[in-house]
Amino acid sequence: MKVRVKLFAMLRERAGTGDDLQDVPDGTTVKELWDKLRREHAGLSGVELRLLYAVNSEYVGLEHRLADGDEVAFIPPVSGG
């Protein structure tokens, strides 16, 4: 299945992209997707931040299972305002 990955701020800079289309097996979790991204983007492997995860704009846990067409955002510590 295909999912759209969104990376922001420091993650976007480290990955070299903010928008990534990924092909993953059915039932892939957020954590499994993140591990895949870290293998593919060397810049992400050293990230020690506490992230939040959102699927289709709703916060979810790392074990959340993805569905085809999901938009998955990896959200580093926010600092708006």
């Binding site: 969104k6 922001f8 701020a9 420091m10 976007r12 800079e13 954590k31 993140w34 050293g46 990230v47 020690e48 931040l49 506490r50 992230l51 939040l52 959102a54 704009s57 790392l62 955002a73 959200i75 580093p76 510590p77 926010v78 600092s79 708006g80 305002g81």
Partner: protein, 150 residues
Amino acid sequence: MYRLTDKSIDVSELLAFVGDPGAGAVATFIGTTRDNNEGRSIISLDYEAYPGMAEQEMTRLGEEAATTWRITRMAIVHRTGNVPIGEASVAIAVSAPHRDDAFKACRYAIDELKKRVPIWKKEIYEGGEIWIGSQTGERFTEAPAVGSRD
């Protein structure tokens, strides 16, 4: 009115939006780019947002405030892109029949916005740049540190 903009924020537009014959009080908060932070001389700030989700989370803040205080209307506008010193990065306006509700809801909105609306600021200072929030491992939730999972 909950939105992102890449232009200068026009506070009078927010004030017009929240104005209401039944409101006797309007509390407003404006966050502006300061010329210094933790000893660094700031040149400007760069804001990045997750469009769609950012507006959605701002809207939720407003809805939560409306269940806690008696407010008439709320507006939150956050700027994205480069914000020079002295200019507004965020403006919040809340109208209410009475001032206590307006003040408390406005304070709630900016406090919560800083905690959970997906917007990030990069400080461009003399000698470097840094993503605020990402310079330490600190986080407001109990989410596990990504690095510790390897």
